[in-house]
């Protein structure tokens, strides 16, 4: 007979080992679909490796890809810490991006140097606004925020399409659904000449560090951890649970909104309805791989960005579908889940019934 026993202590090796092992297993797993596609896995891995580390440009692409994932990963990690299941980062990202192009494309007459901060603040605010209704409905009516935030993603995306064919459409786009470009002074400056990696990355890193610090060292972080780990006890101890939830909801939505700002103001320059290839959803995987730790989010985002960039270049070289990257990402999530189980529990093999003489 097999029994499950909770572990008394969680070793550090486990907290670090589980995500790393999960990542390795997920990459190894990719061999199966590669073989199924008739590709040589070893060559494919080589191509992927080259696509990531083959040149400075290649790696700068990884950093570019990781930037929005750090934002959405932080958005998920902080919310999940409070057991607030914000699955709506995808929609909040678009809200942020929409706000950015709305103010950034010259609609408002803002003095040059103030434009960028304004874009950033309003983008974050728009993302945060996307979390207000789901959190209110959860607290007031008990409506599951998983479902409301998921459905909002679809609503917001349709809304974006509507705006891109309406108020936000670039008059110069010849009817194409895209927004007017953000003015130059509203753009996040690039980090390296002639490469796409931009200063949004610096903002993301600073926010990750700040989140890590606040979570561990501030009263705000204390409350958030208490609410997430045991809301009933937190409430009993005089912590205003609803206020904490609202606070983290707004922060989470704001971070997701910044992901959108960073994509339009750092990379694309204008908004289209295919701005994000699912950064919001991938952010959930990032957060889980990171064990919901903000610093871990940075590392996990780099890993997942590498998978995407590597798979893209492998796909171009070998003709294997780049959906392989999505496969690896989803498998790594499932692996880290199972690994988390073994970090918390151990399976004890007890000898089966002993017949009495």
């Amino acid at each position: 007979m097999i029994r499950i026993e909770p572990r008394q202590t969680q070793s550090r090796a486990f907290t670090l080992g589980v995500p790393i092992l999960s990542a390795i297993i997920a990459l190894g797993f990719a061999a199966i679909p590669l073989l199924a596609a008739g590709a040589n896995p070893i060559l494919a891995y080589q191509e992927m490796f080259r696509g990531v580390f083959g040149s400075v440009f290649a790696f700068s692409e990884v950093l570019t890809r990781a930037t929005p994932l750090i934002f959405t990963g932080l958005a998920a990690a902080l919310a999940f810490r409070a057991k607030l299941w914000n699955i709506g980062a995808e929609g909040q990202l678009y809200l942020g991006a929409m706000a950015a192009v709305a103010v950034g494309s010259g609609v408002l007459d803002v003095h040059g140097i103030l434009l960028l901060p304004l874009i950033v603040v309003l983008g974050a605010a728009a993302g945060a606004a996307g979390m207000v209704a789901p959190t209110y409905l959860k607290i007031r009516f008990g409506a599951d925020e998983v479902v409301t935030t998921l459905l909002l993603n679809f609503i917001i995306l349709i809304f974006v399409q509507m705006m891109l064919e309406g108020a936000l459409q670039d008059p110069m786009s010849l009817g194409w659904p895209q927004s007017a470009p953000i003015l130059d002074q509203g753009m996040l400056p690039p980090l390296i000449e002639r490469m796409r990696v931009h200063s949004g990355l610096i903002v993301a890193l600073i926010l990750a560090g700040l989140a890590q610090f606040m979570l561990a060292r501030s009263v705000w972080g204390f409350r958030l951890r208490a609410v997430g780990e045991n809301a009933a006890a937190a409430r009993h101890a005089g912590i205003n649970v609803n206020r904490s939830l609202f606070g983290v909801a707004i922060l989470s939505g704001g971070l997701a909104g910044l992901a959108g700002v960073s994509e339009v103001a750092g990379l694309k320059g204008y908004l289209t309805s295919d701005l994000s290839p699912g950064f919001g959803y991938t952010g959930i995987v990032v957060a889980m791989l990171a064990g919901l730790s903000p610093v871990g989010v940075v590392i996990a985002a780099l890993f997942i960005a590498s998978v995407f960039v590597g798979a893209d270049s492998m796909s171009r070289a070998m003709g294997v579908s780049s959906f392989l990257a999505d496969l690896v990402v989803s498998v790594s999530l499932l692996c880290v889940l199972v690994g988390g189980f073994f970090a918390r529990y151990r399976i004890v093999r007890a000898s089966t019934a002993r017949a009495a003489p």
Partner: protein
């Protein structure tokens, strides 16, 4: 009045039932899982898998019913995966479900892309045709609404009755309700909590996959990326609206279908005044409203989301 004309037209009600069909499968599937105490957010991905596998089986020559079977089995497989993660391992049902959705979706897309690397227009199959029943199909009104639907719509309606019967009239249904309320009650009577829960998730997921299969084998005749488009999530909202009852699940799906059919028709009527996207948004907004209305008085299965471990009480 235009709306009245729409509401009285045969084609409107036929369309409502058609749009409701995948949702009926999905809500029933979610209902079974949640009655047993497990939330299955894998539903969106399982829809995709059902749509892709059913279509591909037919495309490879398995025949339409062969396709239905393949879709159900594929759904059952991903359901089993979710069941293993959430029942014996007791992992977060939220995260596991999202993981299953990501996994199932990417498996489907990768498989489709790998099997058909260079197609510009998606290949088509010969889908289910409306059952043209003698006499019945010629009945005024009902003939069009009910008797010119495809076999899968009939299967969905049959499933409503079957799920109702199993839940309310058999020992198995009673046990599933009990395991979702208090697993200890099952364990103390010598039944297997794990067995019941895993079985319910697998069966529920197979039903969800049929919802996907309907899309590629009845509503359309090909597979597209993004074709499920949130229908799974809508089902998760509707099952709360239906307070976990098969009859109300049918009602909820039909209301939803009717609303969706109405918005398409209104779009042609007053589309010039309002951007089309407003109509596209409406179903999702409706789902949220349904959820909010039902949530406060919802009688959730008491053990929903709570893992149960043998020998720990």
């Amino acid at each position: 009045m235009d709306i009245l004309n729409i509401l009285l037209s045969e084609s409107f009600w036929a369309a409502s039932l058609r749009i409701a069909t995948p949702l009926i499968f999905g809500v029933l599937g979610a209902l079974i899982c949640e009655r047993a105490g497990v939330l299955n957010l894998g539903i969106e991905g399982i829809f995709v898998v059902g749509a892709m596998c059913g279509w591909m089986a037919v495309w490879l020559g398995a025949g339409l019913w062969g396709g239905v079977l393949v879709a159900a089995l594929a759904g059952a497989f991903f359901g089993l995966l979710h069941a293993i993660l959430t029942v014996p391992l007791g992992l977060s049902q939220h995260v596991s479900g999202l993981g299953i959705t990501l996994f199932a979706t990417s498996v489907s897309y990768y498989t489709y892309r790998t099997a058909l690397p260079n197609v510009s227009s998606p290949p088509r199959i010969e889908p289910f045709q409306p059952l043209d029943l003698p006499v019945l199909s010629d009945l005024p009104f009902l003939g069009t609404v009910l008797f010119q639907q495809t076999a899968l719509t009939w299967l969905a309606l049959l499933m409503v009755a079957a799920v109702w019967y199993v839940m309310n009239r058999t020992a198995l249904g009673v046990a599933i309700q009990a395991v979702g309320d208090n697993p200890d009650s099952i364990d103390a009577q010598g039944l297997s909590v794990y067995g019941l829960r895993i079985g319910a998730i697998v069966a529920g997921s197979a039903l969800m996959a049929l919802g996907g299969a309907f899309l590629t084998m009845s509503a359309f005749d090909a597979f597209f990326f993004g074709m499920v488009n949130g229908r799974g999530w809508v089902c998760i909202a509707l099952v709360i609206f239906a307070s976990w009852r098969p009859g109300k699940a049918l009602l909820g799906a039909l209301l939803f279908g009717a609303f969706d059919a109405l918005q398409v028709r209104l779009q042609t009527e007053i589309g010039a005044l309002v951007p089309g996207q407003v109509f596209l948004m409406a179903p999702y907004i409706l789902s949220i409203i349904a959820l909010v209305v039902a949530a406060r008085s919802a009688d959730y299965p008491r053990a929903l989301l709570t893992p149960w471990f043998k020998g720990q009480r």
